[in-house]
Amino acid sequence: MRKKQWGSGLLAVAGFLLYLLINEPQTAYGMHIMEGFLPVKWAVFWWVVFVPFFVLGLRSIRRITKERPEAKLMLGLAGAFTFVLSALKIPSVTGSSSHPTGTGFGAIVFGPLVMSVLGALVLLFQALLLAHGGLTTLGANAMSMAVIGPFVAYGIYRVVMKANGSQKIAIFLAAALGDLATYVVTSLQLALAFPAASGGVAASFMKFAGIFAITQIPLAISEGLLTVLVWNWLQSYNRTELEEIQSLQKRGA
């Protein structure tokens, strides 16, 4: 067992080194789609797609707080975690900075729908006060960060747990891949709105995703580690409540 751990650790280090060596420094553009940078029809389209998720998220939050009023603090904590992580612009190997999303944690604890509300609130704060992201692009940004990212995280968590993986590894992978998925979706949204003259959407997507995904890889790993850290703290002081909240999901999220 111990040997196996060392082996996989070495493998991870080797892979990471390779990634650092192959990587050409280039400027990337992390984070959200800027205000006004989606054509009107796409901005409207993503808003329309996002609204139902937001409504379902509100319902999910109402149900949780009704069944377990004391879970409000944990909800606040999940929102706050997203708040902190998306304020941290971390340098990446591509020579630019981007920030993690922090949405994986809440998705694992409460189910993915709750994050559509919490994530949207964070995006709204950043759009209004920081000119970061935007109101016209909020629908698109919320779809990537507050809906699809959390759904991916939740799905990965479930799959790894079912396969009898360790819970820590399930959380790490869920948070890291949810983070990565967010930025893949952002790339796709930009590619759909701005297809390349030659090669169309696919060429655009490769261009955006190549840059985004590579910038985001170390940040996704960081997000995975930070999520496991917070989980460890909560588990040592509040194991029963965590488990009870998680079991709420199973009775129809």
């Binding site: 400027t27 990337a28 553009y29 992390g30 789609i33 800027m34 205000e35 006004g36 940078f37 054509p39 009107v40 603090l73 944990m74 606040g76 904590l77 706050a80 975690f81 997203t82 708040f83 902190v84 998306s86 304020a87 941290l88 612009k89 971390i90 340098p91 990446s92 190997v93 591509t94 020579g95 630019s96 900075s97 704060f125 950043q126 209004l128 006060l129 920081l130 000119a131 970061h132 935007g134 109101l135 016209t136 701005f194 297809p195 390349a196 261009k207 955006f208 170390p218 790993i221 960081s222 580690l225 930070l226 496991v228 850290l229 917070v230 460890n232 703290w233 909560l234 040592s236 002081y237």
Partner: protein, 100 residues
């Protein structure tokens, strides 16, 4: 043991942030939202943004203040929550000890 793994997690996060700073020279590590605009104008040279942010921080200092406020608010709530749970669990343990 548990404390120890938590420290490892923290060290991992710090390393992931510091390594790029050491490896990549001659970069400002800009948030580079501006470069996104460049990339879009490469693909779609005729595109003009149709909406501007309602309010923009007047400069880098104000922007970093607002980011710090965002991080501080979030960290405050996370710290409060974990502290609250810790206190509660210690009360419980104490109660169990007293009862025994």
């Amino acid at each position: 043991m548990k404390k120890w793994t938590n420290w490892l997690l923290v060290i991992g996060v710090v390393l992931l942030a510091v390594i790029p700073l050491l490896l990549v020279k001659n970069s400002e590590f800009g948030g580079a939202d501006g470069v996104a605009e460049e990339a879009i104008s490469e693909v779609a040279p005729n595109y003009t943004p149709w909406f501007a942010p309602l309010a923009q921080p007047p400069g880098g200092e104000t922007e970093s203040l607002l980011f710090a406020v965002q991080a501080a608010l979030g960290a405050g709530v996370v710290g409060y929550g974990i502290g609250f749970y810790r206190g509660r669990s210690e009360q419980k343990k104490k109660g169990e000890r007293d009862a025994a």
